[in-house]
Symmetry: C2
Subunit: 195 residues, 2 copies
DNA sequence: CGCTAGTTCTAGCAACGCTAGCAGTCGTGT
DNA sequence: ACACGACTGCTAGCGTTGCTAGAACTAGCG
């Protein structure tokens, strides 16, 4: 059935187009400017087409973009890990990679962590990409866990990085001190003694 | 002019009523359920009245609620500081007070840190309440700064707490480990050596 | 008592997410 | 080869959103 194959290809292609366009519009003008009408216009289809791809509506589109974000974040963290030469610098590299990712893709980061999406965490049908990024970070954290629980520390590190990104981006922290904050954070989080 | 005095009193009273009602509705059903129509209905006035009080519209109302939140957060942190008996526990108490405040007032916290408001940070007309909360936290952080820059460390602590709140509330962290995470965070942030 | 100034309401706009139902197209069975 | 049936994408419209213009009403003053 070559005809159906072609249609399926076209459908999949349009699916990617919707996600890519939503992301591009969001990155250009913010998520508030990504309306279903504008998105439909940009891909040169009518609004209802979006709902044939994403039955749950706009939130599902945001979720699809977020999923892409988790995959890219995972890749960025993995790259940072593989580029680690000296032992003990893994967390440092991972943390910088995380912050750089968030700064370079603000709308993508919003889709992943701020906006309401249909993505479910800690759920049977949780996409693996969501856990993958976490596990990459965990690999870097393990090296500095000491006698602390590695999983708890990973969550702490993740939270701290997430908080830095959030406050930094909303202008609630002094500009120009980004690396100073990150380095201080890492210095303290990597130390297991009380000295 | 007793008539004008009365009118001014009534205006101020209604101003407070709008803010209190917006906050109550948000805390009950979330900010998405706080529409200008519902808010106007609840205070038993028409929609345009809201705009005579908040010319900049709904975001300004959210901002007014957020301002109240900063005042209350400042009070909570001050209370925690004044209740500190043993030296060295100030940060611990402050951090717990911060988290408890965020958990107890989720909608208020959203108004302060998540939702778009008309509040300006690091601006000439920044309301003092925004800095006050920060300074209260700084007082607790100072004690554990060691040779690190106290201001940078305060921002780091604030970010970490904010990140914990954010990820925790969106269900991205394991439930039931809240205090374990906070204690581990504080343990590490309060240690200035590299042990 | 009538004028004026200020206040509040009714009514409506544009834009939002979303959907019902109609055309048009394409593949299939006879 | 042709008519049927399923499917795809569109037009049009619903209910709701934040916000506003202009009418209607109220209250104070001469």
């Amino acid at each position: 059935m070559p005809a159906r194959d072609r249609r399926e290809r076209e459908y999949a292609e349009r699916h990617r187009l919707i996600i890519a366009t939503a992301r591009r519009l969001a990155e250009a003008d913010g998520w508030a400017a990504v309306t279903t009408r504008r998105l439909a216009d940009t891909i040169e289809y009518s609004q209802p087409v979006l709902y044939s791809h994403f039955r749950e509506g706009k939130d599902a589109i945001v979720g699809a973009v977020a999923l892409q974000g988790f995959e890219e974040l995972t890749a960025a963290l993995r790259e940072a890990r593989e580029a680690t030469d000296r032992p003990g610098t893994a967390l440092h590299r991972a943390a910088h990679a995380y912050i750089e990712f968030a700064v370079a893709n603000p709308a993508l980061y919003d889709a992943m962590f701020v906006l309401p999406t249909t993505l479910r965490f800690a759920h049977p049908d949780t996409p693996p990409a969501l856990d993958a990024a976490y596990r990459e970070l965990a690999l870097a954290v393990e090296q500095v866990a000491g006698d602390a629980d590695a999983e708890t520390l990973t969550e702490v590190v993740w939270s701290a990085l997430h908080g830095l990104v959030g406050l930094q981006r909303s202008g609630r922290l002094r500009p120009g001190h980004d690396t100073a904050r990150l380095d201080l954070l890492l210095d303290r989080l990597a130390s297991s003694g009380d000295g």
